[in-house]
């Protein structure tokens, strides 16, 4: 185990910890173990040997901070330009709170919700105080880095402009915000666990993770453009409804101490910023024991799960699956994809992005020309952007968190495994692609009128064809049969090739719109090719 810099820094405060009755050397050891584990990903038996290259252990979290630093550069103008402290600082704190909170839920949930600790540490001669201190310091270390990454650049810039008092207020404000967020997260978990079981909580965490990755990606796009819209001279007068918006509490002290005017509202806001986090800590301490008790729910799932039989899915299975085997495998793939959180985490953000991407391009067009110009143009082909997620999603089909269960394919008396591929791809199209496509289609028909319906149908058939082509990625591996650990984040050249193919499809489609009845003829041609391709894939790609 290496000697962590962070812990060396912590050694300076040894006295303070000891004065609280904490066994510092033991706490330090626990932290060293925790940090070591954070730097590692769970290896599997197979790649323990294979991947024994000399790779220095890196903490994935620390690496991901770079993204936040980049984002924080966009925040500098918010702080520097403009004269209204309350408005500017509230926005800054709002963004910091959002990012820290979502990151807290997606990255530290395993720290807050750890139940292994109990069995391993509490059976040893280690005081409760020391254990909870270790837990607190562990979270604090990460929160420190995270907050520094997000708020560092804007605060430094602000200090240069507004002076040392600004720095002081910011530091106090950020500490209070972090306290507030940790407690708030814990309280939210507390209530979820109280009324639901652990599985529900894990689902909620999963969706927050997905939301975070989508909103960061979209946030880049929007923040970069936002400054042309925002009017920094906006007048911002305090009123009662702002009491329920926490970022405003934290923005208020800046207006109070640095700004020109002060009034009753600002004083109350500032007091709230101080009192609420402190009060929250007190409540949290009171709730801690029953929180720990509720944590046990994470392991045992007492809640009986209701199973909804979905008629339409049954009907659909009958329509699009030919053989009985395929039907069985369709149902199986459907369950796997819907239930597997890791799969959702890898694929759903891409779904969200493909919903947003077509519009980002159209906004550019609107800014340059006009809305009327857009409607009469051929920008509806932008819906092809939603196909960008297909190569990535299809590659992910072969992975599963519970990949070891794949032995079942081999032991089951199934003649050929080709239906497994076709079933998995059909589930992908029905469950993941179709919803995105339908939503986009409705919006596009709203924008461009019903005349684009034939074109949209062409896009759908093209996507099915495209999915079959992309299924080459699956070649040689069964769906759900490999560990996510083996997933290469960037498929590199292969994915690039697949994306180029989309451009080719757009080109052809664009060309046929100039021919009379071209779209209809193209549509019929595509259907024939797709059916043929699917049959071919049965024989060549999926059967080996």
């Amino acid at each position: 185990m290496k000697n962590f810099q962070t812990l060396k820094f912590l050694d300076w405060f040894r006295r303070i910890f000891e004065s609280f009755g904490i066994d510092y050397p033991v706490m330090r050891k626990i932290l060293a173990v925790k940090l070591t584990m954070d730097g590692r990903r769970t290896p599997t038996i197979f790649n323990q040997q294979a991947k024994k290259k000399k790779k220095p252990e890196e903490n994935g979290f620390i690496k991901s901070l770079g993204m936040y630093v980049l984002l924080s550069l966009f925040l500098i103008p918010i702080v520097i330009f403009g004269q209204n402290y309350l408005y500017q600082m509230s926005i800054l704190f709002g963004i910091v709170m959002f990012l820290v909170m979502t990151s807290m839920i997606s990255d530290f949930s395993n720290v807050l919700l750890d139940i292994k600790d109990k069995g391993i540490l509490q059976t040893k001669p280690v005081g409760r105080k020391t254990i909870s201190a270790a837990k607190t310091v562990h979270i604090s270390i990460y929160l420190f880095f995270l907050t520094a990454a997000i708020a560092g650049a804007p605060i430094v810039a602000g200090t240069f402009k507004y002076g040392i008092l600004f720095l002081l207020l910011s530091l106090i404000g950020l500490i209070l915000v972090n306290l507030f967020i940790v407690v708030l997260t814990a309280i939210i978990y507390f209530f979820i666990l109280r009324f639901f079981d652990g599985e529900k909580l894990k689902d909620i965490i999963n969706y927050v993770q997905i939301g975070l990755s989508v909103s960061i990606a979209v946030g880049y796009q929007i923040l970069a453009r936002a400054f042309s819209f925002v009017d920094m001279k906006i007048t911002f007068s305090p009123s009662w409804w702002q009491f329920i918006i926490p970022p405003i509490w934290f923005g208020a002290p800046f207006e109070l101490f640095l700004g020109s005017h002060s009034n009753g509202y600002l004083v109350i806001f500032s007091l709230l910023a101080l009192v609420v986090p402190v009060f929250a800590i007190v409540v949290y301490n009171r709730m801690m024991p029953s929180f720990e008790r509720n944590l046990q729910k994470l392991t045992n799932n007492s809640g009986e799960s209701k199973r909804k039989e979905r008629r339409w899915k049954q009907w659909l299975t009958g329509v699009i699956c030919q053989s009985n085997e395929e039907k069985v495998l369709f149902r199986f793939s459907d369950n796997m994809m819907r239930n597997e959180r890791e799969f959702r985490l890898k694929v759903y953000p891409a779904l969200g992005l493909s919903l947003v991407f077509p519009f980002i391009f159209m906004f550019n067009e609107i800014q340059m020309n006009s809305y009327a110009h857009l409607v009469s143009s051929k920008w509806y082909l932008g819906i092809y952007m939603s196909c960008l997620m297909i190569p990535n999603a299809v590659t992910m089909l072969k992975y599963s968190g519970k990949y070891k269960g794949a032995w079942i394919y081999k032991t089951a008396p199934i003649q050929s495994l080709a239906p497994l591929y076709s079933a998995a791809l059909k589930v992908f199209i029905v469950n993941l692609f179709l919803p995105v496509y339908l939503i986009l289609s409705i919006i596009f028909i709203g924008i461009f009128g019903i005349k684009v319906i034939p074109d949209l149908l062409v896009v759908f058939v093209t996507s099915v064809l495209y999915t079959v082509i992309c299924s080459n990625y699956l070649k040689g591996t069964l769906p759900f049969s490999e560990s996510f650990e083996d997933a290469q984040q960037s498929g590199g050249a292969k994915i690039m090739l697949a994306l180029l193919l989309i451009a080719v499809f757009i080109g052809i489609h664009f060309a046929v719109t100039f021919i009379p009845f071209g779209v209809v003829i193209y549509f019929i041609l595509l259907v024939v090719i797709t059916i043929f391709a699917w049959k071919q894939a049965y024989k060549t790609i999926w059967n080996f």
Binding site: V26, V33, T42, P43, K124, V126
Partner: protein, 261 residues
């Protein structure tokens, strides 16, 4: 058998989970050098008892004493003399065996060097020397179990709590481990052994405690239990005392359903 000093003492131990009463008054005194077989059906409070003894569960009523010290939240000193193998193989499996075992040793107050050397030698005896520097996540079930066993004994405890300690071990390792227990007990260690495998409990324990519905329903050596219940094996005594006699009917029903296809 010579009766040694009292190691563990429970007086009217009760515990509720909400409205559900799990332990309904357990009285138990354990002397030094005993191997206690602690048995009972699923969900009657076996693991709860062990968790209370280890200080994992609070909120109980009654008195719990280990080595004459009362078990409370504040008192952690007694844990130094206890070793524990949990039922579910819970360990930080992102660590290597070396990192995990030295960490546990240090938590028990051992010196790093001493813990490292001792752990290494114990791993070697169990045939795990080569994987000492590999992460536990890559281990098989039996290997993990061996690491857990080593981690519970590293600090030479006087009292051992073993919850299904043989799970995943092969027959040879089971022989070795049973022998280890016998030798430890002969040297005056006390062992609290909880398991569902009756043949093993029957063979290794010199005192068997059967718990059912939150109460102790039988307490004594195997021979004493046999004399009281007129049944041949511990398994049969277990069935009789827990009021379970429909195993044949259930088995027949099961097979009948299997054959329906």
């Amino acid at each position: 058998m010579v009766i040694g000093e009292i190691v563990l003492c429970l007086r009217d131990l009760k515990k509720n989970y909400g409205t559900k009463e799990v332990l309904k008054g357990i009285d138990l005194t354990v002397h030094r050098g005993q191997i206690i077989g602690y048995i009972g059906p699923n969900g009657v409070g076996k693991s709860t008892t062990i968790k209370i003894l280890l200080g994992l569960e609070g909120d109980f009523s009654g008195k719990v004493e280990i080595f004459g010290e009362e078990v409370t939240d504040k008192n952690i000193g007694y844990k130094r003399k206890i070793g524990y193998v949990p039922e579910i193989a819970e360990l930080y499996d992102n660590l290597t065996a070396r990192e995990y075992l030295t960490f546990v040793g240090e938590l028990y107050g051992m010196d790093f060097q001493a813990a490292d050397e001792k752990a290494h030698r114990l791993m070697k005896v169990f045939g795990l020397e080569e994987v000492y520097h590999s992460r536990i996540a890559s281990y098989s079930k039996g290997m993990r179990q061996k690491v857990l066993i080593i981690s519970s004994l590293l600090h030479n405890p006087d009292l051992l709590f073993l919850d299904e300690p043989l799970s995943g071990l092969d027959a040879n390792s089971v022989m070795v481990f049973k022998e280890i227990l016998a030798v430890l007990a002969a040297q005056g260690k006390t062992i609290f052994y909880s398991s569902h495998i009756m043949d093993v409990v029957e063979k290794i324990s010199n005192r068997i405690i059967l718990i059912n519905d939150g109460k102790i329903v039988a307490d004594g050596s195997f021979n004493e239990l046999k004399a009281q219940n007129k049944e041949g094996t511990l398994e049969q005594i277990f069935n009789q005392l827990t009021g379970f006699n429909e195993y044949k009917a259930l088995a027949e029903e099961f097979v009948a359903i299997v054959q329906e296809v």
